[in-house]
Every structure is written in C-alpha cells, then in structure tokens.
C-alpha cells in the first residue's frame, strides 16, 4: 500500500534528512476540498463509502438533462482541461460531430509529467468520483464505450478502478454504458492524446499529425474526446451543486478547484486542493510548510517539469491560475509545483530533466529524437566539468531546432526547460564551464557524478 501524501501528508511522513522535527500543522483552511474531499476517509474507494458521501448525485442530475444541455452547462461552468493545456472542456466536447458514430470518451490517466501525482491519488482513493465524472462525460457525448487509459505502473490504481467499476456495474449505475480499464506499459509519450490513442489501438505510442483532430478522427477512426482524470473529477460537483456555485470558486477566467502537487524542497510535499488563483507563497510557505530550516527559495517550476522554470524573484506575489503564471513567463501546465532551494545546482537539475526527455522521446521526429540526446550529452559534459565556451549557445541553437518542428508538443517539453534554465540561471551554467566543476560541490564529487 502506498502511503499517498494527501490532505495531511505531515502526519504520515518520516522526518526529512537531517532529522528536523515536522513543522506544526497549520490551522484548518477555510477552503473545503471538492476533489479530494473523500481522501483520508476509511475505505474511501468502496461504493458504499462513496454513496454515503453523496457520490453519483451529480450523475443523476446530468442524466435528467439532454446531452446538448449538459455540454452547455459545462461550457458555462468555465471548466478548463486539467491535464496541462487548459482548453475549455465544454468547447472540446462540442467539436464532436453528430453525424458520425460511435463516439468514444477516453480518460487520460497516464499521469507521467514529473512533479505531477494528483490523478494517481484520485484513482486509488476515490475511483467512484472518476467513474461518475466519466459517466457524465459519456452521457454528454453519447459515448457507449469509454476507456480509462491508466499508467501501467499504477497497479493498485488499476485494481481499485476495476473493483469500483464492478461495484458500479452491479449497482446498475453504468446503465448500458461500458467503461474499460486499459493499462499502459511504460511510456511518457502516451500521455500525449494522440500517442495515447495509438497505444490504445495496440501500437507504439507515436503521436499523430493533427489535423484531423481526435474530435473527428480519434480512437479506431471514430470521433473521440480525451479528458484528464482531474477534469472529469470536477463534473460531479458542477452538476450536483450547479454552475453558479462552481463559478464562485477560482477566478473569472480560471474557475474551479485545482489540485496543486507540491514536491521538492518543502517540508510537507503533497497534494493540496485550492481554488485556481490561490497565492503561490501561501501554498509553499503555509500549506506545504515552507522550506527546510535556513534555506531560501532559488527556483520553482510551476506546472510539471516540461514548463519553464522561474526564479525566486519572479514568483513573488504570483497567483496560481492559467493567466497569471503565463504572464510571468511560464505555464500552469499540470500544476506540478517543483520547489528548489538555494542548495540546488541548477545544472544538475536541468541535466536530470534533459535525461528524462531524451529517454522518453518516442523517436518518431528527427529533431526531437536526436536533439534531446544531444542536449543531455552536452549538459552531462558541463555538469562533469568538461564544458566548453560556446556550449550554451549550442544548447539554445539545438532547442530552436526542436521546438515547433515536431509532430507533438514533446518538442517544446524538451526545449523549454533548457531555454528557461539557461536564460534564468545563466551565471550558474557559465560558472560550471569556466571553473570546470560545480561551484557548489568539491571537484572530486563533481567528477564522480553519475
């Protein structure tokens, strides 16, 4: 059993290195969670618990409405996709043609962006919330068959979903609809929606050229919508409590709740559900317990490892909504907030990120397949103290030849970290090159780095 860090991760966590005592628990927040509300309740994954907590009430209300009305309601709610792109969900649904059948709803549960761990928590602890959301979506789209594409590594999550689906089916909640769990098998690229569709069809997860978009030609050549787990988890509350209530949460342009995944150098990493537009500093210094004693913030990635990094001075006063993060030069993405304190070597961090993207490039497009590997090699050299003058220009040049020149956004995911790290922490990189070692570590350690 995983000890998933949820509402009060501090209560379950071992003291961090150095053995400092856990920080005192802050007073209970005024905000009442909507998505994570059942987490921490005993047997939260079972149908009887879910029903006692009001599950499937939103579904009932949605099913009493015509599918078109359901789509209109979701448009009015302002719900935006929580997988990373932030596209309005109701609009996405309305692109599906009415004269081509069948329609498929695919749940993207391939959570794999480093720094993101919200969907796994939802699936393992509250599978009925996802099933209810999926059924609402399937009703709106007229999808008789839906697939939940879950990461292969989430063994417990898949088991819990299968069990919850069996319970829901036995209770008649599925009606004539089918929902199947489809396990991935280890490939970051299958989180990209067209790579996911290829994988669902039993192939390598090579993303498809768009257009045609999945709304017209998706799974098995049929009109398809791919929605993230957290997106669908918003639906039950929207229909149970209504759009007017929903829009009181968050901001005008970014309504609703959001699960922020805080990881890295904070005392209480974990999932924190807050309204969109929540102050970042409150999230880091109050909810997540702040940094370790004596440490100050150096850098922060606000939306999962593929999004541009920000310096500490750039996140002052930042609110966590799509518009505000973009205005600072990054993106909210999946809201995987990775915190780095002043002990961090930015070269080493970027090397780690670039090795990840080099490993996960699917290999379909030459700029990304070759370029991602070159980036990792050059960064490895700089980190090992063997950087040369001109390396930073070379890195940026390679990035220019990847971003925008590939079939899918993986190219940007590969380039953006490099571009932003080099731009915002150029001195750190230059010092590694001129001193031939990491200024923060003794030369011997740098040379033996893995």
């Amino acid at each position: 059993m995983p000890d998933a860090p949820l509402e009060h991760p501090d209560q379950r966590r071992q003291p961090r290195e150095g053995g400092e005592p856990p920080a005192p628990v802050p007073p209970p927040p005024a905000y009442e969670p909507i998505l994570l509300r059942n987490i921490g309740i005993p047997d939260s994954h079972l149908l009887k618990t879910a029903l006692s907590r009001g599950a499937y009430q939103g579904l009932k209300k949605a099913q009493a409405m015509a599918p078109e009305a359901v789509i209109e309601e979701v448009k009015k709610s302002g719900l935006r996709g929580r997988g990373g792109a932030g596209f309005p969900t109701g609009n996405k649904w309305s692109f599906v043609p009415k004269d081509k059948w069948p329609h498929y709803l695919i749940v993207n549960a391939d959570e794999s962006e480093p720094g993101t761990f919200k969907d796994r928590a939802l699936i393992e602890n509250d599978p009925h919330l996802l099933i209810e959301g999926t059924l609402i979506g399937a009703h709106a789209l007229g999808a008789e068959v839906s697939y939940i594409y879950i990461r292969g590594e989430m063994v417990l999550g898949a088991k819990r979903l299968e069990a919850a689906l069996a319970e829901a089916r036995a209770a008649g909640l599925l009606g004539n609809r089918q929902i199947h769990v489809h396990r991935g098998a280890g490939a970051y690229i299958c989180g990209e929606e067209t790579g996911l569709l290829e994988s669902l069809e039993g192939k390598r997860g090579y993303p498809r050229l768009k257009p045609p978009f999945p709304a017209l030609v998706g799974a098995f050549g049929k009109p398809t919508v791919v929605n993230n787990v957290e997106t669908l988890a918003n639906l039950p509350a929207i229909f149970d409590k209504g759009v007017a209530w929903y829009r009181t949460i968050g901001t005008e342009k970014s309504p609703g709740p959001k699960i922020f995944c805080v990881s890295g150098h904070v005392r209480r990493p974990g999932n924190y559900e807050k309204p969109l537009g929540y102050p970042l500093e409150k999230l880091i210094y109050e909810d997540a317990g702040g940094l370790r004693p004596g440490r100050t913030l150096k850098a922060l990635i606000p939306g999962g490892s593929s999004m541009p990094v920000l310096r500490a001075d750039e996140v002052q006063g930042l609110t966590m909504d799509y518009e505000a993060v973009q205005a600072r030069g990054s993106l909210l993405g999946s809201a995987g907030v990775i915190v780095m304190d002043d002990s961090t070597c930015m070269v080493r961090c970027l090397l780690n990120i670039s090795r990840f993207y080099a490993h996960e490039s699917c290999g379909q497009c030459t700029p990304c397949r070759e370029g991602s590997t070159w980036l990792a090699k050059i960064l490895g050299r700089i980190e090992a103290g063997q950087g040369e003058g001109g390396d930073l220009e070379l890195l940026l040049d390679i990035c220019d030849n990847i971003a925008g020149k590939t079939i899918c956004p993986f190219g940007e995911a590969t380039a953006w970290p490099v571009q932003s790290f080099v731009k915002r922490f150029r001195d750190d990189f230059a010092a590694h090159i001129t001193q031939h070692r990491c200024p923060q570590r003794p030369a011997a350690v740098a040379a033996s780095a893995r």
Partner: protein, 156 residues
C-alpha cells in the same frame, strides 16, 4: 511452444471483447503473457501474434517500445527506483547508490541467484513521497537506506 493456461485463455477472451479490433488487445495480452511466462521471449511474441492474428513484427514493435515488458528473464523481485527530478531533489541518487551496493548489482542487472532485478525508473507519479521506488509493482514512498534494508530483508 509457449501457450496460455485455460484460465489465461479465458481472460484473453474477455480482453478481446472490450475492443472493436483484435490489435487493440495487444498491450493487455502482453501484460497477461508477462504474468504467465515471467518475461516476453521471442517465442511468446510469436504466440501472442498468433492469438491476435498479427504479423509477429507488430507485437515486437510494441514490446520494444514500452519499458514495462521484460525482454530478458527477471529476478523474483523487480525493484524500480525513480531518479527523476522531484525524487532526485530528495536524495534519490544516493538511495539508488545504496540499493546497488546493498543487492550487489547495477541498475539494469539481475542478481546471479535470480532474487532481484534492479531497474532505474522514470517519474512514477509519487513525487510527493520522494524518493520512491516500486517493488513488484507496489509503491514504497519516503524511502531511506534504512527503510530499504528492512524491505529487502522481507523479500525471499
């Protein structure tokens, strides 16, 4: 010749019923095959291809694309250690070194006695509990060298 048990064949029939094409059953059938045979040998690939009425190359393409399909025999316990950034910020690299020393192999290898296979994994969506690792598919979060030693002692 590799062949599914009657029970696995029944599961395979259930899998087929979920999809409009046979080919879509490739990933679930390979998961089933790995559970049955331990790893995906060329012989198993050919068997799965036969079941799905696909040329063997279509199955080979899939097996070699996804990291979870073992193309070599593995130990009784497969340990997958995450070393991606959020885990690395909290000591994953040192933990991996400790794991390698403790069980005496490098990432990517299997112990001679067939007890352990160690793999370096990419982000496993457990960043809030980093460093994390998986043993036989179960998550272990907030890992320390001491916790790992206790865990290993329980694995025969």
């Amino acid at each position: 010749m590799a062949a599914f048990s009657p029970q696995a064949l029944a599961e395979f029939q259930l899998i087929l019923g979920r999809y409009p094409t046979k080919r879509a059953a490739t990933l679930p059938t390979l998961h089933l095959a790995q559970r049955e045979f331990g790893w995906i040998s060329p012989e198993v690939m050919a068997y799965v291809a036969g079941l799905l009425e696909l040329p063997p190359i279509k199955v080979y393409e899939v097996v070699t694309f996804y990291t979870m399909f073992h193309q070599k025999p593995v130990g009784r316990h497969v340990i997958e250690a995450c070393a991606t950034l959020p885990c690395a910020l909290n000591g994953a690299e040192a933990l991996l070194e400790h794991v390698e020393k403790r069980i005496g192999i490098r990432a990517g290898e299997t112990t001679k006695d067939g007890r352990f296979t160690l793999k370096k994994a990419e982000c496993m969506a457990a960043c809030g509990g980093g460093p994390c690792l998986q043993v036989n598919g179960d998550y272990h979060e907030g890992m320390t060298p001491e916790k790992f030693d206790r865990l290993v002692a329980e694995l025969a």
